[in-house]
Amino acid sequence: MPVSQSDCNAIRFVLDGEVRVVAGIDSNMTVLNYLRDELRKTGTKEGCAEGDCGACTVVLAELDGNRVRYRAINSCIQFVPTLDGKELITVENLKGPDGSLHPVQQAMVDCHASQCGFCTPGFVMSLFALYKSEDKPSRRRIDDALAGNLCRCTGYRPIIEAAEAMHRIGNELSDQDAHWMNCSFSSSPDSRTGGEREAYERLRSIQRRDTLRFATSGFAGSKRHYFAPTSVVDCASLIAQHPDAHILAGGTDVGLWVTKNHKDLETIIYTGNVKELRRLELSDTHIEVGAAVTLNEVHELIGQHYPSLAELLRRFASPPIRNAATLVGNIANGSPIGDSMPALISLGASLLLRQGQQTREVMLEEYFLSYQRTVLNAGELVERVRIPLHHEPHSFRTYKVSKRFDQDISAVCAAFFLQREKHRVIKIRACYGGVAEIPKRAPACEQALSGTEWNDESVCVAMSALDEDFTPISDMRASKDYRRLVAKNLLRRFWLDTDPTSIQTSVIDYLP
C-alpha cells in the first residue's frame, strides 16, 4: 500500500507484514501497552516496565542504507510514535505460514529452555535478533545478547544451548524452501529472497523526508504534541519554540517517567530521525557522536581507539537498552552514575550545544553543575559529543564496579588518563562516577600524582588524597565506606594495569 508523504498526522510502520497507518495514538503510549491492550497481542509480556527484565523484548527492523538492520528493544519503555518508518516484529510473527516453529523457537523447545515460560518470548526475540545478525555466536556473544533478559527458572544453561543450536536448526530448515524469516541475515541486497525483498520495499515505502508532527489527546483529555523532525535545523527550532518539550532519543530513561512516575509528557520532540544527529564521524583528531547515535552504534568505533571504554559499554545496561539509548542521552540527563561520563571526561571530551542556529562548545567536565542539573539552557540541545583522539603515548582505562557484572548500575565507576615521560607523570586525569552528586575529576588525587614517579609509593599517596576529593553516600548499591575504598583501589588497579609486571586484576577476563 503506497503511502503519501503528506500523510502527516498519522504514523506508519510495518506489523504482521503490512504497513499500518495509525492516527490519533497517544504519544505517551508504550509499544508494549499498544500491543497488549490495543491489539490484544499478549505474547509480549510486562515483567518490570523499566527495561531491566527483557520480558517485553521485541525486534525492530529498519533501513540502514540498503540493508535491513534488526535490533532487539524493550517495548515497555518505547513510545509508539517512534515506530514510524520501522517494522515491528513480535513473538507472534515468528512461526512460519504453516504454523511451524521458527528455528529459534524450535531450539528453545528442543533444549528444554523454558520452564515457567513468562520470560521466554523475550528470550526468543533477543535470540531472533542475534540470529538475524550473527552466524556462529560465541558464548561471550550469547551472554551479551541475552544480558537484558532475566530468567528466574532455568539457570540459563539450556537457553545458551538453544542459542548455540538455532543456526543448525535453521540451516536444516532452509533446505526446505523455508520462510525468509528462518534464514539468518543475508547481508547483500542481491541475495535477498522474495520475502526479504518485499520487507525491504515495504520499509522504503514508509520513509519520511519531512517532520512528523501530530497532536492527540492524552490522559483525561489533555492535549499532547509529538514532533519527529528530520533535520537539525528543524529540530533546533522546534526545541526553541517549545522550551518545555521533552527531548526524546532512546527513551530508556524518559520511558520510565511515564511507566513508573505516571508523568504526562505533553510535548515530545524525537531526535531519532534527525539525519545530522544520526551521524557518527571520525576525523584525525576526534570521534564525533551525534545525539541520536545509539550506544551500540558507537561501540565498534570507540573500541578501535579506546578498548577499555568499549568493554565498559559492553557492560552498559543491556543490548535492548543500548540499541535504543544514545551516548548523548546518557550525558544529557545529568545522572551522577552515567557510566560513560568518567571515561569521556578523562579523555577530555566536549559537547556541542545548539540553541536555534547558535552553537557553543563546552567541556564535558564543566557541563554538570549539581545533582541532575547541567549548564544546558531551556530550548537548548546537546547536538553532539566530541571525543578527542590521543595520538601521543598514553594509558587509558575505565572501570565499573557493580553488584552484578552485566546490566547493573555501577556503585563506583572510574576512568584514568595518564601520560608519562619515562616514569614521570606528565598528565593525569582521574575521574569518578558514583562517589559524588555529579561525575567528577579528583583534583587532590591528580595533584598528588602530577610530576611524581609513577610507582607504588606515589599511587599510595594519591589513593589517600582521594579522601579529600569525595564524600560518597550510602545507598542500596553500596555503602560510603565501600565506595571510598573501591575508588582508591581502582587507582591501584590502574597502576597495576599500566605496570609491566602483568599482575592479573580482572575477574571478568580471567581464564583458567
Binding site: R40, H112, R152, Y156, Y482, Y510
Partner: protein, 778 residues
C-alpha cells in the same frame, strides 16, 4: 513395566507440556486471558510509613479522580478483613494502624489501569508515626515476636560444649531474598449469578485463595467461590500465601461493582507489597574434638518475620529441622525466635526456612575446619550421619536413606577436588590481586509438609469415547514441569501416548481442598493421586474387558496404546468405546496421603519427613581483592532425584535452583532505608543472576543409582527445593578464596550475601588481622 515405544512415559526426557506455547507467546497467563466486557482495573493505595497510626484519611481526591468507579477501604470489606493463611493478623486493608511501608490501605477500581494507578496516589493520609522495629535485631531487643519462641533439644549440649577440647562461639547473619517471579501477582475476579464468583489467580494455592475470598466477601459457603490457575510465570513460594491479598481485593471490588475487576500491581508495588525470604541472625556455641567432630552445638536463630505471622511458624520450624543438614548432632539445642518487625511479612521461598538453618551449620562447620587448619571437606565428612549408628536427627527421626557417603566421595573424585585444591593454592601464592577458592558442600533436605495434614492430594481423570484423556489434579504449574510429570505418570499407568492426555488448569471446583503446590511435594502427591485415578479407570476397563471377552482379569494387559485381552489385541480407544456402550463409568477421582509421617510438636519428636533428598556441589570461584568482584569459574553437581520421572525437567530444577541459590548468596541484596522503605524494589536495584553468571565449566549429574527407598511415585524424589542449597558451595568457595590471603590460617568474617562489598570488607578486615599477627606477611 516397560513402556516399549510409548511416547512420554515415565523416565523419558519429555519436553514441558507448554513449551511450544511458551516460545510462541501463545501460553495464556492470567493477564492474557481475554477480558470480560466492562472490566475494571484496580490499584492498591499503600502506606508510606513503616509504623504509624492513621489519624485521618481523606479519600475524596481518589474518588473524584478521572475514571474512578469505586474506592474501598477497611470499613467497606463485606466479610472478614483478613487474609492470613494461619493466623488472622493480615488485614486486607489496614484499619487505623499501618505496620509496614507499603501496606495496603485502600483500593481503587477505575476504567483503565492508568486511571486506577494514578488515583491510588491521591489519598491524603495523616499519619502519627510510631517507633518501628526495622530488623530482627531490633525486634529481638524489644522481645517483639509474631509467634512464641520454640526450642528443640537433645542431650546435654551445654556440658558437651564445656567439656569439648575446642570451642567456638559466634554470630552469623544471612540475608533475605525476593522471589522475583517474572510474572507479577495478579487476580481477575468475575462475578457470577447468585453470589458466585470466579477468580483467576496466579497462585500456588487455589484452595486457600478460595477460602480467603469467601471470608472477605462474607459468603457462608466457600463453594460459591471458584479459583482457577492454568499456569504461573514463576512463583518460588511467593505465590503461596501472597495471592490472597490481590484476589480478595479484586473480588471485593467486583462484588461491589458487579463488574469483572483485574488487579495487577506493577513490579515496584509487587516487590514492596509482598513477602520475601526471611533473613536470619544466628548465634552459636559449638564444642568439638581435634578431628573437628562436633560434641555439642547450641544455636539461637532469630528471623525477620515482618508484621504478621503468615507462614513464619512452619518456615522457622523447617529452619530448626534443617539445622543439622547432613551432620549428626548428638548434643544439641536449637532455639528459634520469630521476630516481629515493621517490614513486609516474610513468606515462603524455595526451601522454606530449610536453607537458612542449613547455611548456619555449614558456616559453623567451616569455622571449625579453619580453626583446626583442616580441609573443610574433611571436617564435613567427619560429622556426616552414619548408617546404622549416629543416625538419629535432633528431632528423633532415624535417617534411614542416607546416601551422602555415596555422593560426596563420588563428587570429590569426579571434580578432582584434592588436586584442584593444590593447584589453587599455588595459583593464589603467585597472584597478589586475584584469588581463587574451592568448596564442596553437601545437601540433605526433608520431604513432606511439616504440617502433616497437608500431605494429601486429589486428582480427576475423564476418558472420552475417542480414547482421549482429560487430566486434572490439585497441583499448580509454575514452570517446574509438574503437569508434564503427572501426565507422564498417567501415560505410563494407562499405557497411552502422552499426547492423548490433556493437562488442564488447577480449579477448586474440579479437585477440592488441595494443598499448596509447595514443599517440593507436587509430583510426589499429585503424581500418586493421578496414578490412583488412572488405576481405578484401568481396573474398571480391565474388569469390563475380562467380562466382555470372557477372560480372567490377569489376562488383560495394557501396553503401548493397546490392550492385550487373552489372545486378542484391541486399541485403547476401541476398548474405551466398548466400555462406554456397556455403560462403564469413564471418570474417576484419585486420592493420596503420604504414609508414615507425623510428629509431636510439643516434644519436637517424630517423623516430619517421609524421606530425604541428597546432593552435593563443588564450586570454584575467583575474587578480586581490590574490589570484591567475583566470578564462578566452575561448578560440579551430583544430585539425587531417585528414579527420575523426567531427567530433563529434573536437571532444569537442579540447575535453576542452584543459580537461584547462588543469587541469594551473592548478588541479591535487600535494602531498607532508615525509615523502613524498601529501596530494592525493581530489577534495576535488585540483581538476580543473568546469563553471564552461569559458569563456563559445568558438570551436572543426576545420581545414576538413585532410587527412593520409600514407595514414592515410581521411586522418584522431589526436586523443587533441594538443589537451591547446592549454591552453598559458591558462598564457601568465596570464603575460601578470602582465607587464602591469610595463608588459610585465619577464618574470614563473611556473612551472606557475599556481595562485592561484603567480600571486600571481609578482605580488609582479614588483612588487618594478618597485620596484627606479628611476623605474618600477606
Amino acid at each position: 513395566m516397560s513402556g516399549g515405544n510409548l511416547v512420554g512415559g515415565v523416565g523419558t526426557p519429555r519436553v514441558h507440556e507448554s513449551a511450544h506455547l511458551h516460545v510462541s507467546g501463545e501460553a495464556l497467563y492470567t493477564d492474557d486471558i481475554p477480558e470480560p466486557r466492562g472490566m475494571l482495573f484496580a490499584a492498591i493505595g499503600m502506606s508510606e510509613r513503616a509504623h504509624a497510626r492513621i489519624r485521618s484519611m481523606d479519600l475524596r481526591p481518589v474518588r473524584s479522580a478521572p475514571g474512578v468507579v469505586h474506592v474501598i477501604s477497611a470499613a467497606d470489606v463485606t466479610g472478614i478483613n483478613d487474609y492470613g493463611p494461619v493466623v488472622a493478623d493480615d488485614p486486607i486493608f489496614a484499619n487505623s494502624l499501618v505496620e509496614y511501608a507499603g501496606q495496603s490501605i485502600f483500593a481503587v477500581a477505575a476504567k483503565t489501569i492508568e486511571y486506577a494507578r494514578r488515583a491510588a496516589k491521591l489519598a491524603v493520609i495523616d499519619y502519627e508515626d510510631l517507633p518501628p522495629n526495622l530488623d530482627a535485631q531490633s525486634a529481638l531487643s524489644e522481645q517483639s515476636f509474631v509467634l512464641p519462641t520454640e526450642t528443640m533439644a537433645r542431650g546435654d549440649s551445654a556440658e558437651a560444649i564445656a567439656s569439648a577440647p575446642h570451642k567456638l562461639r559466634g554470630r552469623f547473619t544471612l540475608g533475605g531474598q525476593d522471589q522475583f517471579y517474572l510474572e507479577g501477582q495478579i487476580a481477575l475476579a468475575v462475578p457470577n449469578e447468585d453470589g458466585a464468583m470466579l477468580v483467576y489467580s496466579s497462585t500456588q494455592h487455589p484452595g486457600e485463595v478460595q477460602h480467603a475470598v469467601a471470608h472477605a466477601l462474607g459468603r457462608r459457603r466457600s463453594s460459591d467461590i471458584t479459583i482457577q490457575c492454568r499456569r504461573m510465570g514463576g512463583a518460588f513460594g511467593g505465590k503461596e500465601s501472597q495471592p490472597s491479598l490481590f484476589a480478595c481485593i479484586a473480588a471485593l471490588l467486583a462484588d461491589q461493582t458487579g463488574c469483572a475487576v483485574k488487579l495487577r500491581p506493577n513490579r515496584d508495588d509487587d516487590m514492596i507489597l509482598t513477602g520475601k525470604r526471611h533473613d536470619f541472625i544466628a548465634d552459636y556455641d559449638v564444642g568439638f574434638d581435634d578431628t573437628g567432630r562436633i560434641r555439642g552445638y547450641q544455636v539461637t536463630l532469630a528471623s525477620r518475620c515482618g508484621m504478621s505471622a503468615d507462614l513464619s511458624g512452619a518456615i522457622n520450624d523447617r529452619a530448626m529441622f534443617h539445622s543439622d543438614n547432613c551432620y549428626f548432632l548428638e548434643n544439641v539445642l536449637i532455639r528459634s525466635h520469630r521476630c516481629k518487625t515493621n517490614t513486609v511479612s516474610s513468606t515462603a521461598f524455595r526451601g522454606f526456612g530449610g536453607p537458612q538453618g542449613m547455611l548456619v551449620i555449614e558456616h559453623v562447620v567451616d569455622e571449625i575446619s579453619r580453626h583446626l587448619g583442616r580441609d573443610p571437606l574433611d571436617v564435613r565428612s567427619r560429622n556426616f550421619y552414619g548408617i546404622g549408628e549416629r543416625d538419629i536427627t535432633p528431632y528423633n527421626m532415624k535417617v534411614e536413606d542416607n546416601i551422602i557417603e555415596e555422593i560426596v566421595p563420588a563428587l570429590e573424585k569426579s571434580a578432582r577436588y584434592r588436586e584442584r585444591r593444590r593447584m589453587i593454592e599455588s595459583f593464589n601464592a603467585a597472584s597478589p590481586v586475584l584469588k581463587r577458592g574451592l568448596a564442596l558442600t553437601p545437601v540433605k533436605f526433608g520431604i513432606s509438609f511439616t504440617a502433616t495434614h497437608l500431605n494429601q492430594a486429589g486428582a480427576l481423570i475423564h476418558i472420552y469415547t475417542d480414547g482421549s484423556v482429560y487430566l486434572n489434579h490439585g497441583g499448580t504449574e509454575m514452570g517446574q514441569g509438574l503437569f508434564t510429570k503427572v501426565a507422564q505418570v498417567v501415560a505410563e499407568e494407562l499405557q497411552i501416548d502422552i499426547d492423548r492426555i490433556k493437562s488442564t488448569e488447577s480449579d477448586t471446583s474440579r479437585v477440592p481442598n488441595a494443598s499448596a503446590t509447595a514443599a517440593s511435594s507436587g509430583s510426589d502427591l499429585n503424581g500418586k493421586a493421578a496414578q490412583a485415578a488412572a488405576h481405578t479407570l484401568k481396573q474398571r476397563l480391565t474388569g469390563f474387558a475380562a467380562e466382555h471377552f470372557g477372560v480372567e482379569p490377569e489376562q488383560v494387559v495394557f501396553r503401548n496404546n493397546q490392550v492385550l485381552i487373552g489372545t486378542e489385541t484391541v486399541s485403547f480407544q476401541e476398548l474405551v468405546k466398548l466400555a462406554y456402550f456397556a455403560r462403564v463409568s469413564l471418570s474417576a477421582t484419585g486420592f493420596y496421603r503420604t504414609p508414615k509421617v507425623g510428629y509431636d510438636r510439643e516434644t519436637w519428636t517424630g517423623r516430619p519427613f517421609y524421606y530425604f533428598c541428597y546432593g552435593a556441589a563443588v564450586a570454584e570461584v575467583i575474587i578480586d581483592t581490590l574490589t570484591g568482584e567475583n566470578k564462578l569459574l566452575r561448578i560440579d553437581i551430583l544430585h539425587d532425584c531417585g528414579e527420575s520421572l523426567n531427567p530433563a525437567i529434573d536437571r532444569g530444577q537442579v540447575e535453576g535452583g542452584f543459580l537461584q541459590g547462588m543469587g541469594w548468596l551473592t548478588t541479591e541484596e535487600l535494602f531498607w532505608d532508615e525509615n523502613g522503605l524498601l529501596k530494592t524494589f525493581a530489577p534495576s536495584t535488585y540483581k538476580i543472576p543473568v546469563c553471564s553468571d552461569w559458569p563456563d565449566e559445568v558438570h551436572v549429574e543426576l545420581l545414576e543409582t538413585g532410587r527412593n527407598t520409600e514407595n514414592t511415585i515410581h521411586r522418584s524424589k522431589a526436586v523443587g527445593e533441594p538443589p537451591l542449597m547446592l549454591a552453598f558451595s559458591v558462598f564457601f568457595a568465596i570464603k575460601d578464596a578470602i582465607a587464602s590471603i591469610a595463608g588459610y590460617r585465619l577464618s574470614p568474617r563473611l556473612d551472606a550475601p557475599a556481595t562485592p562489598e561484603e567480600i571486600l570488607m571481609s578482605v580488609q578486615e582479614l588483612g588487618l588481622r594478618v597485620k596484627q599477627h606479628s611476623g605474618t606477611t600477606v
